[in-house]
């Protein structure tokens, strides 16, 4: 028997679906939940048991916002992810829609189909589509910040400023001393 791990499996299915643009908002949502379940069980829970800190670049809130923006029922997505471990701390880096769009366009040659929300058929222009889709995603995040009590970092500022705020938040949470000097050293 060939050994496969499920994340690789999910990746294969997602790739097929994405290539053929065959994913619906529901199958998009469920495939990502499958992938999340796999990472939760293999990459998140074991280090937690070992007493380590897990830094998660996006968590269930990403799914809540993205799936709801696609028209999936908000309550259903929240219940779907009820198997997830509640994070000890969740930080939302907030930017206005214009900044988000500008940054993405500066970074990439071409917007990806699902990233731009092209599957929704709102606009055949990827940039317009992205703006509309991302606008809805950000609206959902505002709702989530309130509902789940996320800490917010203003992400329009410089990296140093953001990191300073971020460290302050984490230090308070972990009850460790915040060493600003170390940050200055690291970031120059």
């Amino acid at each position: 028997m060939t050994e496969w791990n499920s994340s690789a499996l999910v990746k294969a299915a997602t790739k097929t679906g994405k290539k053929k643009n065959a994913l619906t908002p529901m199958t998009f949502s469920l495939l990502h939940a499958t992938d999340f379940a796999d990472r939760l069980l293999y990459n998140i829970i074991p280090p937690l048991k070992a007493g380590m800190i897990v830094l998660a670049d996006r968590y269930t809130y990403t799914a809540f916002s993205r799936d709801a923006a696609r028209g999936v029922d908000r309550r259903w997505v929240r219940e779907l992810y009820s198997f997830a471990v509640k994070p000890d701390m969740a930080v939302y880096f907030r930017v206005p829609i214009e900044v988000s769009t500008d940054r993405l366009l500066a970074r990439r040659v071409k917007l990806k189909f699902y990233e731009a929300g092209m599957d929704m058929g709102w606009s055949s222009n990827p940039i317009d589509s992205f703006r509309m889709f991302q606008g809805k995603v950000l609206d959902e995040y505002d709702r989530i910040v309130e509902e789940f009590g996320l800490s917010v970092v203003n992400a329009t500022g410089s990296i140093t400023d953001q990191q300073r705020t971020f460290r302050k938040l984490v230090s308070q949470h972990l009850k460790i001393e915040d060493d600003d000097g170390q940050l200055d050293e690291q970031l120059g």
């Binding site: 028997m1 496969w4 469920l30 379940a37 029922d73 309550r75 009820s82």
Partner: protein
């Protein structure tokens, strides 16, 4: 998570996905971007463990319905274009855990629901479903996946108009399976590590599975049929009940031949 929404209470009405759901409507929250109210098609689900003769019955039903002029489509687990290769691979490797397995199956169901079942309902077809969400619930339930969560997960499914449960006893089932194709790894619940002996594992697994189905019979309004009887006897019974349902004013009611 903060949203410890264990109940599916909405507007004071408990929508637990059980008998409360109206046939042809979503069990709970559904798919908001796909309203299905008033779609003329019907879903008829045939449930039961492996070896009860579901596919034979479905083939015969299809012929019978088509002769009467109904449009019919068939659907069954892991038949979605999106998920079939992935699930086959997952089964071949048996390294998936129960949670990811449940979610892969749900994705397969969602794909078929949106791309096959809902369009067929809209077009007034009869959907013959070789197993439905109950199989997923039974398998997950006996593997220890939270039953409330399973029901909420499948809250996007549509309550079938009729669910027939082909009920069999353990002894008959074992003989049938051994006579046909033998016991396989998954049908024997070998992933549950009940024991190394496949025969004993199969027995223990199927026994628990039968218990799971039995516990859902009332909740989801199964019409229970004795699957130990001959194929044509069961088929006659299915046709009688389906015929009666389709003749009701709120059944299909528009049989192109018998109900002009």
């Amino acid at each position: 998570m903060d949203s410890s929404t264990s109940s599916l209470v909405e507007g004071g009405v408990v929508k637990d996905g059980g008998s409360g759901a109206k046939p042809g409507s979503y069990y709970a929250y559904g798919i908001p971007y796909l309203p299905i109210d008033g779609y003329p098609g019907k879903i008829i689900a045939i449930e039961g463990t492996d070896g009860v003769g579901r596919s034979t019955q479905i083939r015969l039903l299809r012929e019978w319905l088509e002769v009467q002029g109904y449009g019919v489509i068939e659907t069954g687990w892991t038949r979605s274009q999106l998920m079939q290769p992935t699930i086959e691979l997952a089964k071949a490797s048996n390294t998936l855990n129960k949670l990811t397995f449940v979610l892969l199956y749900a994705t397969d169901f969602a794909d078929r629901l949106e791309k096959e079942i809902i369009p067929a309902l809209k077009a007034g077809f009869i959907v013959l479903s070789d197993r439905y969400v109950f199989t997923a619930m039974a398998r997950a339930g006996l593997r220890g996946v939270d039953r409330t969560w399973m029901r909420s997960l499948y809250g996007f499914a549509i309550a079938p108009h009729l669910v027939f449960y082909l009920k069999i006893d353990e002894k008959t089932l074992i003989r049938r399976v051994l006579q046909s194709r033998g016991m396989d790894y998954w049908e024997s619940g070998m992933d549950m590590k009940l024991g190394d002996d496949i025969y004993e594992s199969f027995r223990a697994y199927q026994r628990s599975l039968l218990r799971e189905y039995a516990s859902m019979a009332d909740e989801f309004g199964f019409r229970v049929l004795d699957a130990r009887r001959k194929v044509d006897v069961i088929q006659d019974e299915l046709r009688r009940q389906i015929g009666a349902f389709l003749a009701e004013p709120d059944g299909a009611g528009q049989s192109p031949v018998t109900n002009p």
